[in-house]
Amino acid sequence: MRNCSIAVQRYLPHEHAEPFWQHFTVPFDESTSILDALNYIKEELDPSLSFRWSCRMAICGSCGVMVNGIPKLGCKDFLRNYLPRNYLASESTAAVSAAEIRIQPLAHFTVERDLIVDMNEFLVHLEAVKPYLITDAGADETPLEKHAQTLAQTNKQTPAQLAKYKQFANCINCGLCYSACPQFGLNPEFVGPAAIALAQRYNLDSRDQGKAARMPVLNGHNGVWSCTFVGFCSDVCPKHVDPAAAVNQGKVESAKSMLIQMFTGRG
C-alpha cells in the first residue's frame, strides 16, 4: 500500500477558538475513498476527529465534505482521483508529495465541530417548500373515506407521468449543491437548489395538487429568482439530479404563476 498526505480542517471549539489544519499520512489503494481515509484517521491516528457518515454507498447523503475546495460525498470520491494517474502503478515513491488532499467541512454552512455542519440551515428551506404529496381529493369526506381515496389514487401513475419528475426525485438531501452555490453563500435566505428541485419534483407529480401552496415560496424574493444559473450545483450533485435545471424550470413556472395571478387574481 502507498501513503498519501491528507490535511483536515479541524475545529474544536472547546480547545481552539479558530479552525486549524491537521496533517495526516494515510495508506491507500485503488479502492480507498475519502470516507475510508477519514475512518482510518479516526481509528488509527486521532480519535477526536468528528464527521458524519452512515451508509457508505451514496444513499444517506451524510458524508458531504469539501475536498480540495469542491463539495463531494466522502463515500463516492476516491483518493486515487487526486493523485497522478500512474502513481499507484509506479515503483517510485517520489510522487508521494505530489499533492496533499485538503478536506474541509461543507462550505456556506455553520460549522459546529471539525467536519460537522449545521444542516438545519438547509432543512428549514426544504420544509418551506412542502416536499410531500398534497392532495385536495375528498375534502368533504370523513377522514377514513379521504384516507381510502388517497390510497386508491396514490399508485395511479403512467411511466410517462413518472418520467416528468423522476430525475428530481433522486435527491438524497446531502447539501452538496448548497455548498456549490455562491448565491446561497452570499444570501443564506435563498431557498436553494435542492429544496427548489424537490418543490419542482412534487409540482411535476401527477398525483400532487399542492402547487399553489408551494408557488409563494418559489415566487418570493428568496425563491427561484435569486438563482443566476451558475450551474455548479448540478456539476457537484452526486445523484445527477440537475438542480440548476429544476430551479430554472421553476422560473418558467413562477413567471406563468405570476401572469395568471396578474390576470385572474389567483396564483
Binding site: E18, T110, D118, A160, A163, V230
Partner: protein
Amino acid sequence: MSYKPELTGSWWLKHRFFMLYMLREATVLPLVFLLCSLLAGIYSLASPEQFASWQAFMARPWVLALHGLALVAALYHAFTFFQLFPRVMPIRIGARLLPPALMVAVQWAAVLAVIVLFLWLFGNSQGAI
C-alpha cells in the same frame, strides 16, 4: 459555539467553473457599448452633420475592435444559452424527451438563418444605394 466562513469577493476566482460563469455574465459589457453606439446612431439622424460624425465615430479602430468583441461575446453567450435551454425547457413528445443535442442544433440553425437573412437584406440595400 460555532463558526461560519464568510464568502469573500474573490469567490469566483477559486474555480474554473465560476470564472467561466463570470465570463458569461461579463459578455453584457461590450453588448451595452454596442447598444449605446446604435442608440447614438438613432439620435444622430436628427441632422446630416450629426449622422456624418456618428459614421466617423463608428469607423474608428477602437470602436470597431469593441464591436468585434461584442460579436464574440454575443456568440459565446448564445453558445452558453443554447446549451442551457434544453435543461430549462425540456420538450416532451409523449413519453419521449426531445434530444438536447437536436434542440441545440435547431437554435444554431436559427442563428444561421438570421445571418443569411441579414446578409441578403444588406446585399439588397447596398444594391439599392
